[in-house]
């Protein structure tokens, strides 16, 4: 039972939370011992009840204003499993804010508000050991508890520590490095004597260089660490920590290795990555291709999406910088040539392929990539693979590649070759030249236009497949009528009862309770949150939940079911987090029926 910690915002494995002491502490936070004098901006809220290696310890009394580290046996990195298990400490269930010291071998739910990862100095600096330790511990302790990594944080590494799932750090390492004459910044650990000017504007650095000594260096290091944490908290709130990490982690190779290894722990990150985000996604390196958002989109387009337009020609077009694509000048020109006679699929790095019905769906209208015209081998490989898998599930009578030479054409030729399919190429020079557009229009000669209704219905169904799973488009929306003007579409049943609305900002559907009931009655697995017998208005809190589907992700539409209510809302936690949490908002309700 967590009483003194609550997660407020999530950005993949990183969270902004609150240590609910007498004076609350916003995490990720820089915390220090209550009795230690540290220059700079730390919260002195840790009270260590002591190590049981040196002596038996009395049970501490605790204090509502402090986080008491319960008497412990810290296990340094390298402690053999057998020894770790033999000396594992049983922690008392206490009524004050408490932290339990654990190591990967001994981590389990001790009913504490926070967990201290012993041996952290041995893990930090080694990507595989670090990722292994943090993901193991994070999976074994409840989601709504804080993870504290002692003795390791620096201005350079703290963003990556938080990105991996760390909530609390201390200034110890920054202080020690300062006493050693190391001047820490977000990019380096400089030898103080090598600096002829101080690259910082913090108060400690506002003095002549020759008067700046190691004690000042300690103060600067702590200031730099605190400032970086402020930046990280902002990034989490904005949903943009990953964009920062891809650049920041480049400052130390082990940090780059760490976020790449985390990408390989796909299920750890996927469970924690939201389905939708308000924020833009910046794709500036090959590492962006490994992001959960990108991989998930490609996976759903190739596995869940049902091609409903493949009785007509496919036109492959290049993506545009402006999103959604249909708003761009280039796509308007393509449209003028195509005139609803063919199915349009955009090819893009890093997303892969985007069928026209999913152009609004996160991250298709949210990403921004660096365009130079030169594709990397990794990009070509990725987009080729997605396009090939996409085409394997379709049956177009003709494939027209209206794409420019660089990159796009290579990919098309590669996929055509691999599938043994013939592509028709319509671009000469550039896709928007009159010749190219003329070729495209000529190629579609003889095909009729499909009606607006078909376009709108297919969009609703495609988003449903993407969002709810295979078959959802047909099962939930068999007798569909659409209202409104794209991209503001409403999905009604044949009797005019509303089932859902297309959320223009994210390209996902917001169900009504009628729509939700259809989901429950269908064969499509329902993402369900089971609650105690009460009628939730506004939100469902974690303690009211009795069970939740494992596959719920932040941003998912979920069905709320209890003896007193049936409703639908948007998940603010993942299913596993709902199961293990005792605090926090789990679902933002949209509609509820009392029953």
């Amino acid at each position: 039972m967590t009483d003194y910690f609550e997660v407020h915002e999530r950005d993949s494995a990183a969270r902004v939370g609150e240590l609910r002491l007498v004076d609350s502490v916003t995490t990720p936070a820089l915390v220090d011992d209550v009795d230690t004098e540290t220059p700079g901006n730390c919260r002195h809220v840790l009270d260590d009840a002591g190590s049981r290696w040196s002596t038996e310890r009395d049970a501490p009394d605790g204090d509502e204003s402090l986080l008491t580290v319960l008497p412990h046996r810290g296990l340094p990195a390298g402690t053999p499993d057998e020894v770790a298990e033999a000396f594992a400490v049983d922690y008392p269930d206490v009524t004050f804010p408490s932290a339990a010291v654990i190591s990967p071998d001994t981590a389990t739910d001790h009913s504490s508000d926070a967990y201290v990862l012993a041996g952290a100095p041995g893990y930090v600096g080694h990507a595989s050991a670090f990722v292994d330790a943090v993901t193991t511990v994070r999976e074994r302790i409840p989601a709504d508890t804080a993870l504290y990594l002692p003795g390791v944080a620096t201005p350079r590494n703290v963003a990556t520590l938080v990105y991996a799932g760390v909530d609390l750090v201390d200034p110890d390492r920054a202080v020690v490095r300062g006493t050693e004459g190391r001047y820490l910044t977000t990019d380096e650990a400089y030898f103080l004597e090598d600096l002829d000017e101080l690259p910082c504007a913090c108060p400690a650095c506002q003095q002549p260089r020759e008067e700046f000594d190691r004690q000042d260096c300690v103060e600067h290091n702590v200031n730099a660490l605190a400032a970086e944490l402020r930046r990280v908290r902002r990034r989490i709130r904005d949903g943009r920590l990953r964009d920062y990490i891809e650049g920041q982690a480049r400052q130390d190779n082990w940090l780059t290795a760490t976020f790449r290894r985390l990408d390989q722990q796909y299920s750890y990150l996927e469970e924690r990555t939201p389905l939708i985000r308000r924020a833009d996604l910046s794709a500036a390196s090959d590492d962006s291709l490994r992001r959960v958002e990108i991989q998930r989109f490609a996976e759903r387009v190739t596995d869940r999406y049902v091609p409903r337009f493949d009785d007509r020609p496919l036109v492959l077009v290049p993506c545009s910088a402006r999103k959604p694509y249909s708003d761009s000048q280039s796509h308007k020109q393509y449209h003028d040539a195509i005139k609803w006679r063919a199915h349009v699929v955009s090819m893009t790095s890093p997303i892969g392929v985007v069928p026209q019905e999913l152009e609004l769906t996160y991250p298709a209208q949210h990403y921004d990539s660096v365009v130079t015209g030169n594709w990397t081998a990794t990009e070509i490989e990725f987009v080729s693979r997605v396009l090939e898998r996409y085409l394997e599930g379709t049956d177009y009578p003709e494939i027209i590649a209206h794409v420019p030479g660089e990159g796009y054409r290579d990919i098309c030729e590669r996929v055509a070759d691999s599938l043994g399919q013939e592509f028709t190429y319509t671009v000469t020079d550039h896709p928007t030249t009159a010749d190219s557009l003329g070729n495209l229009a000529a190629e579609l000669e003889g095909w009729d236009r499909y009606p607006k209704r078909e376009r709108e219905h297919n969009t609703i169904r495609a988003v449903a497949d993407y969002q709810f799973g295979e078959g959802a488009g047909d099962e939930l929306f068999d007798d569909l009528s659409t209202q409104g003007r794209y991209p503001q579409l409403r999905a009604d049943d044949a009797d005019g009862e509303q089932l859902a609305a297309l959320a223009q900002q994210y390209g996902v559907l917001s169900l009504t309770t009628v729509g939700a009931r259809r989901w429950v009655e269908s064969d499509v697995p329902t993402k369900t949150v089971e609650i105690e017998p009460f009628v939730p208005h506004g939100s469902v809190l974690a303690p009211g939940i009795t069970d939740a589907s494992d596959d719920i992700r932040v941003g998912d539409d979920v069905v709320i079911q209890g003896d007193a209510a049936f409703g639908v809302g948007r998940a603010q936690m993942s299913g596993p987090e709902m199961q293990s949490s005792t605090r926090g908002i789990a679902v933002q309700m949209r509609h509820v029926d009392e029953q």
């Binding site: 260590d48 040196s54 810290g74 390298g78 033999a86 010291v101 110890d172 020690v176 006493t179 190691r214």
Partner: protein, 358 residues
Amino acid sequence: MSKPSPEVYEEGKGMDAHNSVMRDIRSRNDSTYDPREPTRVWLDEDNTPDGVYQSLTIILNTGGCRWARAGGCTMCGYVAESVEGGTVAHEDLMAQIQHCLDHEAENSDEQSGLIKIYTSGSFLDEREVPAETRQAIAETFADRERIVVESLPDFVDEETVGDFVDVGLETDVAVGLETATDRVRHDCVNKYFDFADFEAASEAAQAAGAGVKAYLLMKPPFLSEAEAVEDMKRSVRRCAAVDGCHTVSMNPCNVQRYTMVEELYHDGGYRPPWLWSVAEVLESTADEDVIVVSDPVGHGSDRGPHNCGECDDKVQRAIKDFDLRQDPAVFEQVSCECEATWDAVIERERSYSLPLAR
């Protein structure tokens, strides 16, 4: 006196785990040694209750420590220096003694007044060194002034110690107490006896006309720097209060091969103590009525006690100087910028944040 045996403590699961792990680690070492050569021998100077003597230190190869064969102490790699078969015959042990006498003759013009014999086990354990050999060695060194023999408390009695006292040697039994804190000795060092056994052994030695020299270990695994310093200060004071214990040798832990400490060290979970910590303990216990010496092995290296790399030799010299003169003023003459780092480590390091600095 109580007779703790390895079997009794093995009932504890902590000791089981330590022993199991240590057996496994030690099994990776497959070197063997010639039973007719000592493990090590060297000449030095030593402070004793009778003043400073030239000393001949002998690490006798007796087939290694019996406790280590069960698993043994977490920091001790001397068992690695064992002979095949596990026991060494009388003739071979005497050949080792002759080797040491030759070494002394080659390297010094005078005979050492002080002989120190260690076995990495118990010289007084007759399963390790037969009574016949013990008596022959006593005879061999009967013309010296003092002798120190190493033993676990179990084997200290009038008969064993008496062999040396009876030939006219001022005799001391060196006991690897490691710490006066039973909990630390058991859980961190994995050594099986209690402080009460040490007290009993001191009493027995005294009754036989001998004295006791306690060997302490600074910073076994799992302790923070501050806890290690506190443990040593307390241990020196408790040893000083034991009748018959006139000398304490307080030695910083180093990283020996094929040990659990080495496993921790490799994975970034152990750092040997700072030399400042050694100085701190010597300085603060200088007023105790006991000789306190320290011999930091491997000082200045990553695997040995060290400071920042700049001041290690200076501080080591002050410690050696203190050993001979027992004057805490020697430490006033050494200083270094890294004392600030050590201060921060002492203040901030916890058993869960080991090690805070390299």
